[in-house]
């Protein structure tokens, strides 16, 4: 489990490419409380949605509140998993394992990519 968590934390900007300067860069924080099934599901879902709609212009920062509980206080997190859209402003927050894609898109205000056809 420990290795898996490390894996989650490490996994940022999956393609390793710098973001396109023209497009708006998305900075997302995923807050989890340890590597539980909900956290894993949330990461998978978020990753999938980002790949589909924000390919190349997003950054996911996974924060494990087990390790840094004071971050929950600083960032006003009580329910986990939670995703906070730090960029673009305004800040938005959604909770849950992100299995409801429609709600994730609405909650984070992501304009669905046309070619994928949501």
């Amino acid at each position: 489990m420990v290795t898996k968590r490390r894996e989650i934390v490490k996994k940022r900007s999956p393609r390793g490419k710098p973001p396109e300067p023209a497009a708006e860069h998305w900075n997302l924080c995923l807050y989890v409380a340890g590597p539980n099934p909900k956290a894993v599901a949330a990461f998978r879902n978020l990753h999938r949605i980002c790949e589909e709609h924000l390919a190349g212009r997003y950054h996911i920062n996974v924060i494990d509140l087990m390790k840094n509980p004071q971050i929950a206080r600083d960032d006003q997190i009580i329910a986990v998993p939670a995703v906070v859209r730090k960029r673009p402003l305004p800040i938005r927050q959604i909770i849950g394992d992100l299995s409801d894609t429609r709600r994730v898109l609405a909650g984070l205000d992501i304009v669905p990519s046309i070619k994928k056809g949501m």
């Binding site: 409380a33 949330a42 087990m66 004071q70 997190i77 329910a79 909770i95 849950g96």
Partner: protein, 596 residues
């Protein structure tokens, strides 16, 4: 099912643990709130959650905050305040008026305020979630300052913000179990619901202690009330206790907490009126007793009260005088007319006046002020003039309860208290009197007697516990010499007072004078008779002695005559040669002849 089973298993084990501590005696976490610790027998259940519920603005947040502030500053138990409604800044500002410096406490790591800002998640719930973040946050806050106390104000907000109520309920169950395991004492607040203690049934999570707060308006005055609905494993007061929020925070004066544990004294203190001392078994009131002085308007209640105050100050003791009728300067001026110089005692700091109009505050506030002033000044005597003024501030029942608490409070402190009470209907036993009559030790009645075209004041002792006291009615006069009590005359028309008494006294005096004269005359007469008798006796004596001397002279004369006769006979016998024996016979014969 498996999860459920394990949960119940842990529940059972934790309950067993709790039972062990109960058998050793329940540990209490004192709240430091005046009165609340008395009602709960020492405080809230230590290491367990307590629910404080009530409507808006009834003081839930303040009570919770005081619990933390007192805990941190007085009992060495740092606390975490998890605020779901107000920010740390707002909370700090709100309680600063009570003298709580939260900022300093936060800096000193005695307090940690975590403001939980919950967004409306209604449209942002995208799947399964739990409230682990809350646990981690709270856990971190507790560990950070080694907190022993936690306030959740109010966790119900979660229900309003989260769509998935099942998640919230599950989380709360876990939260309270977790907090119990951590051994922290928790207050959670809850808004009052319709027909239930809280809107979302928070009481089902808290099985140990529930306190209900209330804020009611009755006859345009509001009273806050507190009630311990439930306190598992401990005795607690069950009544509704009025409480007050003033500049020192919350204070509660429980009615029944006193349990008559007041001390009693055999020491007597003079009343300031000599005859009254005499009537009260010769020594005055008992120290620490409560004295009720009731009477109609103008019967001299304030005068008797101030006389007692004056006597107290004269002994070098302190006296606190509460007046709802007159200003201090007015009392001082008026009492100078009966020869009392109260100003000197005010200057020396022995006498303190507190005058305020009854309707200026509610009953609770009056009581609170009274108790605060008494605590500050620490007097030996308290005089309340007159408590019927407070009737306007509450219902009779509330007034009685308040008076009981005041009387009990003063008794516990060993303060001698005098309460004056106005009767308006001329009936000495008015409602307010009878309400507290059982609480007072000495009850003096002042009465107006209308007779012979004038009104006169009378005083008698209705009761005085623990001392032989006079059952007589005394007439009560006030002059520049002060208050004096005089005997009343009982005539064929009943009691005689005032000018009728003066006339009666004059009549008695006149009667006395004539009686005295008569006695003198008789004595003179007797003396005269005595003298006369003496004179007669002397005359008789003189007569007798004169006769005596005459008779004696005759006897002597006779004896001489006889002797001469005897000599002649002997001489003759010698000449006739008679023998000696015959001489005796001849002598007797001669004597018998003589007396015949």
């Amino acid at each position: 099912m498996n999860i459920l089973r394990t949960r119940y298993a842990t529940d059972w084990s934790s309950m067993k643990n709790a039972a062990v501590t109960t058998s050793k005696g329940l540990r209490k976490a004192p709240t430091g709130i005046r009165g609340l610790d008395e009602i709960t027998g020492g405080g809230l259940p230590h290491g367990r959650p307590t629910l404080v519920c009530g409507g808006t603005g009834c003081g839930k947040t303040l009570l919770a905050m005081e619990f933390l502030v007192h805990g941190a500053t007085e009992y060495g138990e740092p606390g975490v305040f998890m605020a779901f409604e107000e920010t740390a800044e707002e909370l700090t500002a709100n309680v600063s008026s009570f003298g709580f410096d939260l900022k300093a406490m936060i800096e000193g790591k005695l307090l940690l305020i975590d403001h939980v800002q919950i967004e409306r998640y209604a449209f942002a719930e995208t799947g399964e979630y739990d409230l682990e973040g809350l646990f981690l946050r709270l856990g971190d806050a507790i560990d950070r300052i080694k907190a022993k106390r936690v306030v959740l104000d109010t966790i119900e907000t979660l229900f309003a913000r989260m769509t998935n109520q099942a998640v919230v309920r599950e989380a709360l169950h876990r939260l309270f179990r977790w907090l119990k395991n951590k051994g922290v004492t928790v207050i959670m607040t809850g808004e009052r619901g319709e027909g239930s203690l809280t809107r979302n049934g928070l009481e089902e999570y808290v099985s140990d202690c529930v306190i209900s707060l209330d804020h009611r308006v009755l006859d345009q005055s509001t009273t806050r009330r507190l009630r311990v609905v439930k306190y598992r494993g401990a005795m607690h007061g069950t009544n509704e206790y009025p409480f007050l929020i003033d500049k020192n925070g919350i204070s509660i004066w429980p009615v029944t907490s006193v349990q008559l544990k007041d001390w009693t004294s055999k020491e007597r203190i003079p009343t300031g009126i000599e005859r009254l001392d005499a009537m009260l078994g010769g020594a005055g009131y008992f120290r620490g007793s409560s004295i009720l002085l009731s009477g109609m308007a103008g019967t001299g209640k304030t005068s008797v009260g101030t006389t007692f105050a004056d006597a107290t100050c004269r002994r070098g003791e302190r006296c606190q005088f509460f007046s709802f009728e007159e200003s201090p300067s007015q009392i001082v001026r008026n009492m100078s007319s009966i020869g009392l110089d109260l100003q000197q005692w005010v200057k020396k700091g022995r006498l303190r006046f507190q005058t305020v109009r009854p309707f200026y505050f509610g009953l609770e506030m009056h009581l609170a002020r009274t108790i605060r002033l008494v605590t500050e000044f620490d007097p030996q005597v308290v005089i309340v003039d007159q408590m019927s003024g407070l009737e306007t501030t509450g219902t009779p029942l509330e007034l009685k309860a308040a008076m009981m608490r005041l009387i009990d409070f003063l008794k516990m402190k060993g303060i001698t208290a005098m309460y004056t009470d106005l009767n308006t209907d001329g009936n000495a036993l008015a409602l307010t009197d009878t309400a507290i009559s059982s609480l007072v030790d000495t009850w003096l009645i002042l009465r107006d007697l209308e007779f012979n075209g004038e009104r006169n004041r009378c005083l008698h002792i209705l009761k005085s516990r623990g001392m032989a006291h006079s059952n007589q009615v005394r007439e009560f006069t006030m002059s520049e010499r002060g208050i004096e009590l005089k005997d009343v005359y009982i005539g064929p028309n009943g009691m005689v007072t005032g000018s009728a008494r003066v006339a009666q006294e004059a009549r008695e005096r006149a009667l006395q004078v004539s009686r005295n004269e008569e006695i003198e005359l008789r004595q003179l007469d007797l003396k005269h008779k005595h003298d006369l008798l003496e004179g007669r006796i002397a005359a008789l004596h003189a007569e007798f002695s004169a006769e005596e001397s005459i008779i004696e002279r005759i006897i002597q004369h006779d004896r001489q005559h006889e002797q001469t006769l005897g000599l002649d006979e002997t001489r003759m016998g010698r000449s006739r040669k008679q023998d000696a024996v015959k001489t005796g016979h001849n002598l007797i014969g001669k004597n018998g002849h003589k007396t015949a």
